[in-house]
């Protein structure tokens, strides 16, 4: 990785995630500065770029799909990124939010907006600005092709670092024993 080489563009987003996977990415600590010598961030919660650029090299997705907007953002990432990585349990299998999948949406709605303690005016939000929720939380590979999966809730900073440095060096990413965790 010598100096004049073009930096890789990396976009990241959190769909129905908790941001913990992004935190784990930042948990590479000082190595962030080493990483920045080789990559530039495109659309990401860490920048003010709001749309993925058409020539993105790597897209990193945290979180599963819980509403129509998540699906839209995911498709946009797939269209514009050469490599797409599913980061963490939520992206891979829906994660904890998928525990709502056995419940009918209306039951949850009723409870949160009508019967929960201290609600003064029961009403279900219904503005067109709010995206349609899916009635189940879905993993992202059901909707687009995913190139790599990094498991864990969240995956450790070491695991994320390993995958990114492998990709930067042009190697096939390999987690191997010790970095493969599901907790």
């Amino acid at each position: 990785m010598t100096a004049p080489k073009k930096k890789l563009k990396v976009a990241t987003t959190s769909l129905a995630g908790c941001f913990g996977c992004h935190m784990s990415l930042l948990d590479i600590d000082e190595r962030l500065f080493t990483l920045l010598e080789h990559i530039e961030f495109d659309r990401s919660p860490l920048t003010d770029i709001k749309e993925v650029s058409p020539d993105c090299d790597i897209g990193i997705i945290e979180g599963g799909l819980c509403n129509a907007e998540n699906v839209h953002v995911l498709r946009d990432f797939r269209k514009n990124c050469k490599i797409l990585i599913a980061l963490g349990a939520c992206a891979i299998n829906g994660g904890l939010p998928a525990q709502r999948n056995h419940l009918p949406l209306t039951t949850i709605l009723e409870e949160v907006y009508h019967t929960s303690p201290g609600v003064s005016n029961g009403m279900i939000p219904n503005d067109p600005e709010l995206p349609l929720p899916l009635d189940q939380v879905h993993p992202i590979h059901e909707v687009v092709k995913i190139d790599y999966f990094i498991p864990g809730c969240p995956p450790s900073a070491e695991a994320i670092w390993k995958v990114l440095t492998d990709l930067l060096a042009g190697r096939e990413p390999e987690l191997g024993h010790g970095l493969m965790h599901y907790d």
């Binding site: 930042l26 201290g118 009403m123 939000p125 600005e129």
Partner: protein, 487 residues
């Protein structure tokens, strides 16, 4: 207090501009602005657009799973949810008072959380606005830009956050989503090696935190015209206060003041929070709008978080942070400071306090003790409240005789600030957008106001709404996975 600009009279006649997604905040939100042909602003709303459904799906789970599950509401302050839930469950297992070791370990974990979250917010997310200006070049407005222009500031931000994360790791087992607290206590103490490792760094962590207060103080006081007025509105505020009215992030009673600083209530046992706070639902956001019942919907809303806490307490127990608190109060001239950008200054005072408390705790041998658990008479209901980095956080659970959760109600910190954030963006829209061509730089002004509150929109999305629309979810091969429609 008014709801000016919340709802336009004829939205159908107006042009819509959206900030979507709001960036350099945690989680998902968008802002919509409705303008007429003369670029006059008629409506501004901060919408919380997502749902994940926690309150409902934790029902039916055994109560001891809850402190681990609810962390997944938020990866930035998982410890706050972990501890608020644990405190509620302490009540349920009858642990009226924890052992000194357990309480101090939890405090250490929580103050580590405070330090890392405040550092993340200030350095990684907000510092570009504060150092480069609100309408500086969009490609530079991020931590990478800060690292290029001010490498020392960026590096300290990263290392301050790292230290906080390490405090969490040794107390909870993992940096994100650990398992340290259990109903009635803690599941591990510190080893001498773990403690000594942290002690090695704590002195420069305190020093860097002091420098951070001075940095934001300088930025703020050099441009008082902007910083004292940007996005300003008056409101009540609320926080927990500890023993003797001290600033306390882990435990205490509820105190609220009005916009002049006069007490509305004080010494309130948070088990009774639902006698004081109600929540209103509005059609355009999945996040509810809480308010003090005694003052009603229109006048009862409030701010929480650093700006509320630092002005609500009587004093701070650690010397450097107390010195800085007094400087801040003097600057405000003896009346409550309402400027949203003062959140940054008070947030750094809190970070310094967290560093000082961690230093004190690391010298306390109770951290090494294995006397970690207490039990008592089993209860069916408990409320846990904590001061999370973004403000007061409520967890409320009921449990049946089989130990399964039957009811959960959460009011997260960002929800408490919902109306306040909406007021701030409307103020900015009136001042900077009204009658002007809307540019990227002007739109960032709106986001600067939102960021001051350090909203955690992923936390805020635990509730769910429904839309009269239809979608089809199609897989990569074009096959229909399922469709959903709603009348």
């Amino acid at each position: 207090m008014s709801y000016q600009l919340e709802t336009a009279e004829h939205p159908e006649m107006l042009r819509r501009v959206a900030i979507d997604p709001v960036s350099r905040v945690e989680g998902h939100g968008k802002v919509t602005i409705l303008l007429d042909d003369q670029n006059k602003v008629h409506q501004v709303r901060l919408h919380i657009v997502e749902f994940r459904g926690f309150e409902k799906f934790i029902q039916g789970r055994p109560y001891w799973e809850v402190p681990v599950m609810v962390q997944r509401l938020c990866g930035i302050c998982p410890v706050s949810h972990h501890l608020a839930a644990s405190k509620a469950l302490d009540i349920i297992v009858g642990a009226k008072k924890l052992t000194p070791a357990a309480e101090k370990l939890r405090r250490l974990m929580h103050y580590g959380q405070m330090l890392q979250s405040h550092a993340l917010h200030f350095f990684h997310l907000c510092s570009p606005d504060l150092l480069f200006g609100f309408d500086s070049d969009v490609t530079r407005r991020n931590i990478v830009g800060v690292a290029a222009a001010h490498p020392e500031i960026a590096k300290r931000g990263v290392l301050l956050r790292k230290f906080g994360q390490e405090v969490i790791r040794v107390t909870a087992g993992k940096r994100v989503h650990g398992t340290g607290a259990v109903p009635g206590g803690m599941n591990k103490s510190l080893t001498i090696a773990e403690r000594d490792e942290l002690l090695k760094d704590i002195y420069h962590i305190v020093a860097w935190s002091r420098d951070a207060v001075h940095l934001i103080q300088k930025v703020h006081t050099q441009d008082p015209g902007l910083y004292n007025s940007f996005g300003i509105f008056r409101s009540n505020f609320m926080s927990l206060v500890g023993h003797n009215g001290d600033l306390d992030f882990y435990h205490g009673t509820l105190r609220a003041r009005d916009d002049n600083g006069k007490l509305i209530f004080d010494g309130v046992d948070y088990q009774e929070y639902d006698r004081y706070i109600d929540e209103e639902v509005r059609s355009w956001s999945y996040m509810k709008f809480p308010y003090f019942r005694s003052l009603g919907k229109e006048h009862g809303w409030y701010k929480v978080g650093p700006l509320a806490r630092v002005q609500n307490c009587n004093q701070i127990s650690t010397p450097f942070a107390e010195h800085e608190r007094k400087e801040f109060v003097d600057y405000a001239g003896g009346t409550p400071m309402h400027a949203p950008l003062a959140y940054h200054w008070t947030r750094m005072i809190e970070m310094l306090h967290a560093a000082e408390v961690i230093k004190e705790l690391l010298h306390d041998d109770d951290l090494l003790s294995n006397d970690l658990m207490v039990e008592g008479e089993r209860q069916m209901e408990g409320v846990g409240v904590i001061e999370a980095p973004r403000g007061t956080l409520f967890h409320h659970y009921r449990v049946d005789e089989n130990d399964l959760i039957t009811m959960a109600n959460l009011i997260v910190s960002t929800t408490n600030n919902n109306q306040a954030m909406n007021e701030a963006v409307r103020h900015v829209a009136r001042r900077y957008l009204h009658g002007h061509e809307v540019t990227e730089g002007l739109l960032n002004h709106i986001e600067v106001a939102i960021r001051a509150f350090d909203p955690c929109l992923s936390c805020a999305t635990h509730a769910l709404g429904k839309m009269p629309l239809a979608v089809e979810l199609v897989d990569a091969e074009g096959l229909l996975i399922h469709s959903l429609s709603r009348a």
